[in-house]
């Protein structure tokens, strides 16, 4: 599994009926292997439809999608879709709603077993995944329905990671989690990215996009509004305004300083830490305005 490529992809819900609705229009994009892409845009802008196609859950109405060797178009058969899903893992929004097995371990082993992995191997993959999510090992034999909300979320994510996907899609993985759990989860995603997994993350929090992504895809009305690095995106005020995106707090803060006459060497600090560094440099230079 390697690079992802969308070629002039359209998706129409209920095509050929009075209720036909365009969800994706003439979408083309190429993503490198091992990249980390944040996907932002309003509700109904086509983010989830796009990701569903990438996981073979929807088939493009027109156009073509390539993930490594697998090519998907509207004539794609079930085998091709199954092959696609083997390499792509999808952590849905509120994934805890997909738990079903009697024990946590069985639930996490479910995915690998479906891929045809031997039970012993599946168990090993499940245990590693549970460990990676920092879940205490004494919950393995408990029912997933006895766990707290945050733990259930992590078990569900472990269920996807245990399948060792080379492309991982996450749909707002931190929604409803407390700050500490969010940070832990994002650090884990970043770690997977460092190890070479291609990551696509739908998010409404620009801080997350700015901190982790190497590219941001902005969707608007089913079309690609922008695809650029976070630095390029958040320095483009006109584009942000048009897409209705608020820059991360650190960027907004730097812009406020700038409007009051304090220039930083990097006017788009993507994280609070970078902003702090910039401010330190300025202070050492003798923090006068208009320097």
């Amino acid at each position: 599994m390697s690079a992802i490529e969308f070629l002039n992809v359209d998706y129409i819900y209920q095509a050929d009926t009075p209720m036909a609705a365009w969800a994706i229009k003439d979408f083309s994009l190429k993503l490198e292997t091992g990249s980390f892409t944040a996907i932002v845009g309003h509700t109904g802008s086509g983010k989830s439809t796009l990701m569903a196609m990438l996981d073979g859950l929807l088939v493009p109405t027109h156009g073509q999608l390539r993930v490594g060797e697998v090519v998907i178009d509207n004539r794609a058969d079930k085998k091709a879709l199954a092959r696609l899903r083997q390499g792509v893992g999808y952590v849905f929004q509120f994934p805890e709603s997909q738990l079903f097995a009697e024990t946590v371990l069985k639930d996490v082993m479910f995915g690998p077993l479906n891929l045809g992995v031997s039970p012993a191997q599946a168990k090993e993959q499940a245990l590693t995944a549970l460990e990676a999510l920092k879940l205490p090992s004494d919950i393995n034999e408990r029912s997933p329905f006895e766990l707290s909300g945050g733990q259930m979320r992590r078990v569900a994510i472990a269920g996807v990671l245990a399948m060792h996907p080379s492309v991982l899609i996450l749909d707002e993985p931190t929604a409803g989690l407390d700050p500490q759990a969010s940070t832990d989860l994002l650090d884990l995603v970043d770690e997977l990215h460092q190890k070479g997994t291609t990551i696509l993350m739908i998010t409404h929090q620009m801080e997350q996009a700015a901190r982790f992504a190497d590219h941001v895809l902005v969707m608007n009305h089913g079309q690609k509004a922008a695809f650029m690095t976070p630095h390029e995106l958040f320095s483009n005020a006109a584009l942000l305004n048009e897409a209705g995106i608020m820059p991360p707090a650190s960027v907004a803060f730097a812009q406020q300083l700038q409007s009051h006459g304090l220039r930083l060497a990097d006017s788009v600090p993507l994280t609070i830490e970078k902003l702090a560094d910039q401010l330190t440099i300025r202070l050492k230079q003798g923090g006068r305005a208009n320097g």
Binding site: Y13, M19, Y90, S97
Partner: protein, 273 residues
């Protein structure tokens, strides 16, 4: 995918004359039409029923394809029933015989009647459900259940239950699609393998749906109680149904259609002409 299919019996938004009729009129007329389908006694009667249906379809301003979609899921059941009628009915001229199977003119006649009734009844129901939002239909049912109150039937509670059921059908359908997608993404193939294997595969779908539904029911009950819902209190309506001139016209139309159908019966009896 679930939401890519047109759901049987789903409302199709529109602003036709039929869409604007009072749901009580539409529900009663649909019911009445089904009754008079069984009163037709000759081909003239059926012809008249088809003319009435055609007029209603035209008045609904919805594409014919949609009505065909209503019949399609039941196609095999219809075919089976018609075939049974054709092969097992006796009487009249015998065209073909094999053991106790026979195709007779009586069989042809019987199966044609069954086919016509199927098409008429299914399509008139589709006319009703396609032009009437489900909540309005529930309001109409409630209106017709009102007299049962005197028999101490809890009409109010039944109406609220009915509304909740109808309100949550799309939610549960959405939820089904979501869980199905999540499990497909985890490598489940819902439409392959033997019947037992397929039934087994429903477990990862049904358990999350049950858990979710119970949770939602509890949340809904809490929310309703928090807002002071009392099942025994008299209910007021947000959307009050009003009778318009068009509703009177529709009832006149229905009466005329019935009289003409009865006339076709007399024709066959030779009492007319």
């Amino acid at each position: 995918m679930g939401n890519a299919k047109v759901i049987l019996g789903a409302y199709v938004p529109g602003s036709s004359w039929l869409h604007h009729l009072d749901p009580r009129v539409k529900l009663f007329s649909c019911f009445w039409y089904v009754v008079i389908v069984f009163l037709a006694s000759n081909w003239l009667g059926y012809l008249w029923l088809f003319i009435v249906l055609g007029t209603l379809i035209a008045l609904s301003r919805l594409p014919l394809k949609l009505y065909w979609r209503g019949i399609k899921p039941l196609f095999w059941i219809i075919l089976f029933t018609v075939a049974i009628q054709l092969l097992f009915s006796s009487g009249g001229h015998v065209y073909w015989q094999w053991g106790w199977l026979a195709i007779t003119s009586g069989g042809f006649y019987q199966s044609a009647i069954i086919l016509a009734r199927f098409i008429l009844i299914i399509t008139i129901s589709t006319v009703l459900t396609a032009t009437t939002p489900t909540l309005q239909l529930a309001a109409a049912m409630e209106a017709f259940m009102k007299p049962l109150r005197y028999l101490h039937v809890p009409v109010n509670q039944i109406a609220v239950m009915l509304m909740i059921i109808l309100r949550f059908i799309p939610t549960i359908m959405d939820e089904t699609t979501k869980v199905m997608n999540a499990q497909k993404s985890r490598g489940v193939n819902f439409d392959e393998g033997s019947l037992i294997e397929r039934a087994r595969r429903l477990e990862p779908l049904l358990i999350p749906l049950f858990v979710g539904s119970f949770k939602r029911a509890e949340e809904l009950a809490t929310a309703m109680e928090a807002r002071g819902y009392d099942p025994d209190a008299p209910r007021t309506k947000y959307r009050v149904l009003h009778w318009h001139r068009n509703d009177t016209l529709a009832m006149i139309g229905l009466t005329l259609a019935t009289i003409i159908l009865l006339a076709t019966r007399l024709m066959s009896a030779g009492m007319l002409f």
